[in-house]
Amino acid sequence: MPKHQIDPNKWVSLYSDYLFNFTISRVNNRDLAKDLVQDTFFAGLKSMKNFKGAASERTWLVSILKRKIIDHYRKINSKKGKAEVRMSYNSDSETEGDWLEERVADPYDKTAEDTLENEELGNAIYNCLSKLPEKQAEVFRKKTIEGLDTETICNELNITASNLWVIIHRARTAMAACMEKNWF
């Protein structure tokens, strides 16, 4: 089995979206997620020589990222945990039953299962996206996920509108086939 090679120059274009999506489902803050991804890349760079090539590059980066996220939560907890005032509604029997509606589960709140499924779905989408040719993936991502205008993308990538629609069409066909196979 050939060993996995490591090439930090391609990290951003190959993995940043996947890692970003992975992070944002856990920390729920764009700026913070960006910082964590960047920290991950730096840490990966630092410990490149420890990479044995047993796992794929992405798996390795994800394992670093997981540690970074845990570290982040540890940090905010140690600062905040001391200052936080914890309120408990039924500490004594006198006020029992007062705040009842606040203790009922919110039906519109996402359950853990939903979140989990959403996250897996996001990962599946990025897996499929990474199988597309680079140009198609880029256009599809910009158009569908970022929701940019046709015109903006055309200007950015220097292509005509009809060219863009052809690329979108190919990308969508490939994506639909891939998702059909892996998700539905």
Partner: protein, 87 residues
């Protein structure tokens, strides 16, 4: 021959409009034409349903990605760090 070509362009157009519809960029007339086409064309019906499924799934998953500006800054930071390590 010409008839075959006609059918081909019709489907081509229909798919194009269908793609546009996914991003809410098709005009009303185009949408009506697409619907009429879908009545008799099974292949395009299939494509349309797949396409709608894909849109729904992407919407539901709420995937997010960094925009190009954020990515660029990330990339420059990383290349700088790579350079630093080499020298």
């Amino acid at each position: 021959m010409s008839k075959e070509n006609n059918i081909k362009t019709a489907c081509h157009n229909a798919n194009h409009v269908c793609d546009k519809t996914q991003y809410k960029e098709a005009t009303l007339l185009e949408k009506i034409k697409l619907t009429l086409h879908l009545i008799y064309c099974r292949a395009c019906r299939k494509y349309t349903s797949n396409n709608q499924k894909l849109t729904k799934v992407v919407k539901k998953s709420k995937v997010e990605c960094m925009n190009s500006k954020e990515k660029k800054s990330l990339e420059t930071n990383l290349t700088e760090a790579i350079k630093e390590r080499q020298y």
